[in-house]
């Protein structure tokens, strides 16, 4: 360490003129307000801005110059012999030089900045007070990387050897490798992870540059050819190790298993064992991932990563389709992928379909997908990628689009046309129902449901022939989706919350709470009130599906808040009897209805329950016992207490 400190202090002494120059430059910002009458800035702002600019310029110029001279010239030319003739290790020579130069680079801008900061301390605090630590850390890191880069670049150029050409080739290859490694994260819009990776790579680069310079000095010493070989080997060896580690890290980030997902949302096929699990991946900064999972065998297919795009399973459970970004740009085109879930071997197939889209729907038999995008709604053959038909989208249509496949060759659209640029601010909306015959390339408008008070949501029955519209104020109305006819007003405002479900016998169930108690209202197929079943005290009540026909899964919570956990029960629709299933459980089907038709009674979607710790459980309707499908079997210990 004696040698390191001697070299570092000598470097600082050698660069003492820089401090003098910084002191002279520090006077500049103080007189800056006098030079020109500021128009929109106060003198204090002008002083601080000038000082910050000068300090930045000083730091950048010094990093560049000292990297080239103190660390480039002095450790490759004659002075290196001077240091090597002393009892100082080669690594201490380089590290001492680097530390000395770095100290000069950090101190000189501080000298430039200090008078202005002291002059206008309160303004400085208001500008940077809370972020001064992170700004300083970024500044320190950036100057270090610049210095090390300047040093190694200068060493390479000074060598005037063929290794400079090899350096350039390696640089191009390395940049290409890093870009290809980072692209999937950029495409997944994983900004936080990209920033983390960028910081780690910058740190790795700095370490590699430092090691390369140190190795050139301590191993190459005065043998220039050997020094160049060593520098090249260490620098690019280390940088490609950084690239390999980044590659492995990104691969790991993008490869979570279903068990790595937390707070999973679950989608299900109408039949078969496959579900779609979506959630934030553990230890991956919450990178949203979607995975198709076979709850019988544990097999899974990883689908999209990131918040954009969609993943769907066909109603017959035979086919999964999802989207992956084909570029790094937000709202750019998405490629459609598919996987046949019924085969012995699960194979991810990249279809030729690539389009800008927000939502993807798949036909019940898994042969056709409809891509709902900002410009058009396209219907494609999933097997061939052929465009079967497309409907242009008007700009106002983009804010609400639901599509279903009511029969062969037909796509049913529920759209909310709007002429305004901010339709969500308009008090009322109308839902246009249209059938698109993509065989005949004909669009037939069937009905318009209006007016609906915003905000609203729609629930469809399994066939897509009836829908319930929920409007602000808890008004619930039943419509004939084919004609747009208002069939019945199920409830008017007055309920604290309302949840709805189409039952297997065609009836309608509405769950509501008011006065601290929960009730399930049963209606006939035409929306005529039949009976009301009390479910006990509850602040919010949600309806799931029917695990067995005539028994409805419900979830009740004491209050409505983002942290609320539910207790699940089974409600016998005939007798009103309630059988508790477990605490901190919620039927998966209670959250499905916003995107899928109502699940059929006894289908997998009606048997799944999500626990508040993210675990997924399956109900055995014969024994009424729950078994763990995904997640931590000990998870209940972590569940927060619900009074």
């Amino acid at each position: 360490m004696k040698g390191f400190f001697a070299v570092a202090s000598q470097e600082i002494i050698a660069q003492r003129r820089v401090f003098l120059a910084a002191a002279v430059a520090a006077a500049g910002p103080l007189i800056a307000p006098l030079l020109k009458e500021p128009r929109s800035n106060s003198p204090a702002e002008v002083r601080l801005m000038a000082a910050a600019f000068l300090a930045f310029a000083f730091a950048a110029a010094l990093s560049f110059i000292l990297g080239g001279t103190a660390l480039g010239r002095d450790v490759s030319g004659g002075p290196l012999g001077f240091y090597l003739s002393r009892p100082v290790r080669g690594s201490a020579i380089y590290a001492g030089k680097l530390a000395g130069a770095w100290a000069v680079i950090l101190l000189a801008p501080a000298i430039v900045l200090l008078p202005a900061v002291l002059f206008d301390l309160s303004l400085w605090r208001s500008w940077f007070g809370s972020e001064v630590g992170s700004i300083a850390a970024a500044f320190v890191g950036a100057t270090f990387v610049l210095l090390a880069m300047g040093s190694v670049a200068n060493l390479a150029i000074r060598s005037r050897s063929a290794w400079v050409g090899a350096d350039l080739v390696a640089l191009v290859l390395w940049i290409a490798a890093m870009v290809s490694i980072a692209l999937p994260l950029a495409a997944a819009q994983a900004t936080g992870l990209l920033q983390g990776l960028g910081l780690a790579v910058a740190a790795g680069c700095a370490a590699a540059l430092l090691a390369a310079g140190g190795a050139q000095v301590s191993i190459g010493r005065l043998d220039a050819a050997r020094g160049n070989r060593v520098r090249f080997a260490v620098l690019w060896g280390a940088l490609f190790v950084v690239a390999a580690l980044s590659f492995g890290y990104v691969r790991w980030l993008l490869s979570p298993s279903p068990r790595d997902l937390v707070r999973a949302a679950v989608g299900s096929a109408g039949s078969g064992p496959w579900i779609e699990v979506e959630g934030a991946a553990r230890r991956r900064s919450g990178l949203t991932t979607s995975i198709f999972f076979d709850i019988e065998t544990g097999r899974y297919v990883r689908a999209r990563t990131g918040r954009q795009g969609a993943a769907v399973i066909s109603r017959d459970g035979s086919t999964a389709a999802w989207t992956e970004p084909s570029s790094i740009w937000p709202d750019g085109p998405q490629d459609v992928w598919m996987c046949r879930l019924s085969g012995a071997k699960l194979e991810r197939v990249h279809t030729p379909i690539s389009t800008r889209l927000w939502n993807l729907e798949i036909s019940p038999d898994g042969s056709i997908v409809a891509a709902v995008g900002p410009d058009s709604i396209g219907v494609y053959s999933l097997a061939t990628g052929r465009l079967l038909g497309a409907i242009p989208q008007a700009s106002g249509d983009r804010f609400f689009n639901r599509v279903t496949f009511p029969g062969p060759g037909r796509l049913r659209l529920f759209r909310v046309p709007s002429a305004g640029s901010a339709p969500w601010l308009e008090p009322f909306a109308s839902v246009e129902v249209a059938d698109f015959d993509f065989t005949a390339k004909r669009l037939i408008t069937r009905a318009t449901i209006a007016p609906i008070r915003r905000p609203f949501s729609l629930s469809f029955d399994e066939a897509g022939e009836r829908l319930i519209a929920w409007e602000r104020g808890s008004s619930l109305s039943l419509f004939d989706a084919a004609t747009g006819r208002l069939v019945s007003v199920l409830a008017n405002a007055g309920w604290d919350s309302a949840s709805r479900a189409f039952l297997s016998d065609g009836r309608i169930a509405i769950g509501e709470t008011s006065g601290g108690a929960g009730r399930v209202h049963l209606y006939s197929c035409d929306g005529e009130p039949e009976t009301v079943l009390e479910t006990g005290s509850a602040g919010i009540l949600r309806l799931g599906g029917e695990p067995v026909p005539g028994t409805l899964a419900i979830a009740a919570a004491s209050e409505s808040s983002p942290m609320t956990t539910f207790d699940a029960s089974l409600l016998d629709l005939q007798t009103g009897q309630i059988q508790p299933l477990g605490r901190h459980l919620e039927p998966v089907a209670a959250r499905l209805r916003w995107r899928l038709p109502n699940p059929a009674a006894g289908s997998l979607a009606t048997l799944l329950f999500s626990r508040s710790d993210g675990a997924l459980l399956r109900l055995d309707p014969a024994t009424m016992k729950l078994t763990l499908v995904l997640g931590n079997s000990e998870g209940k210990a972590n569940v927060p207490h619900v009074p």
């Binding site: 002075p79 001077f82 100082v88 290790r89």
Partner: protein, 324 residues
């Protein structure tokens, strides 16, 4: 450890250094020698003979292709930093950072050496009127050399290594440099290893001499022995048909150089002794034979200056060709 190793301060063994692509150009080929403790070893050689490569290897500044270089019986490549505490070095080109003043150079050295003799260094510089507050890059060559010598001697090294330290100095500065060196050696008995072209300067100082030629050590001996066994021999030649050639009469000597002159033959031999010379004088055809002592410069020129004479078979072939 052998007795010789114990007494040696520096040694190289089968040292080979190669340059160029795939190491095709050897700068040193299997060089072996030892610098005994207390000696002043002068390494001589023409430009490009490999002196600087050898110096760098010996000081741990360059790794040899094969062989080893040792200082105080330790591998100098592996233990360079530790060994430098016992060594003072004056390089061929004064290499202190140009922006440092002499005072800063010594301040830097003071931090690194426990036994730094600051007063001795200042006294030395004041004797030569070297300004200590001027940037090193602005000093004259002689002043730079004195600063480097002072920095090399300041920590009382056991071994002083000088790589052509008087290169480019005028005769006065050269004389002053060597006087300073002699004075210091007399005071301390420091071992010195120096490479130089200044043969006159070191003739009275060196106790051992080595000559490198084209990367090979062609001479390595005590100075007294070298002076004793190298002689220039002049003789008239009645043996060969052509007076410009010579025959086998020199076969008893190791001739470093032979030239046929109009008046006879001039030869430099490296194994001169009186008995052999007397026998040589008695040979038929050898007339007016005389042997004279040689200066170190003459010996160097004879050994390193020209291509070696043809071997005995070559000479016989030449004689045969001349007589037929």
């Amino acid at each position: 450890m052998s007795g010789v190793e114990h007494l040696s301060v520096a040694s190289v063994e089968r040292l080979t250094v190669r340059y160029g692509r795939y190491g095709r150009n050897p700068a040193l080929s299997g060089v072996t020698f030892t610098v005994p403790r207390g000696s002043v070893y002068a390494l001589l050689g023409r430009n490009g003979a490999g002196k600087s490569s050898l110096m760098r290897c010996l000081l741990g500044q360059q790794k040899p292709a094969s062989g080893s270089a040792r200082l105080f019986n330790e591998d100098s490549w592996k233990n360079r930093a530790r060994l430098m505490a016992r060594i003072g070095i004056v390089p061929e080109e004064p290499d202190a950072p140009p922006e440092m003043t002499a005072r800063e150079v010594f301040g830097f050295c003071r931090k690194l050496y426990a036994s730094w003799d600051g007063k001795g260094v200042e006294d030395r510089l004041s004797r030569f009127a070297v300004p200590t507050g001027v940037a090193f890059g602005r000093l004259s060559k002689g002043q730079k050399a004195q600063v480097m010598l002072s920095a090399a001697l300041g920590h009382r090294p056991e071994l002083l290594v000088l790589d052509d330290p008087t290169l480019g100095l005028d005769p006065v500065a050269r004389k002053a440099f060597f006087e300073e060196l002699i004075g210091d050696l007399a005071d301390r008995g420091t071992t010195v290893f120096l490479a130089t072209h200044d043969l006159g300067g070191i003739e009275g100082i060196a106790t051992r001499v080595g000559i490198l030629k084209a990367g090979k050590l062609v001479l390595d001996d005590e100075m007294e022995n070298v002076k004793a066994r190298f002689r220039r021999i002049h003789y008239g030649n009645d043996i060969s048909v052509e007076r410009e050639a010579w025959g086998t009469e020199l076969d008893d000597f190791d001739a470093a150089r032979v030239r046929a002159r109009g008046w006879g033959v001039e030869a430099v031999v490296s194994n001169f002794d009186e008995v052999t010379f007397e026998r040589f004088r008695q040979k038929a055809g050898v007339t007016d034979a005389e042997a004279s002592a040689m200066s170190l410069e003459e010996i160097f020129l004879a050994v390193a200056g020209e291509a070696p004479p043809p071997d005995a078979a070559g000479r016989r072939a030449a004689v045969k060709g001349a007589t037929s």
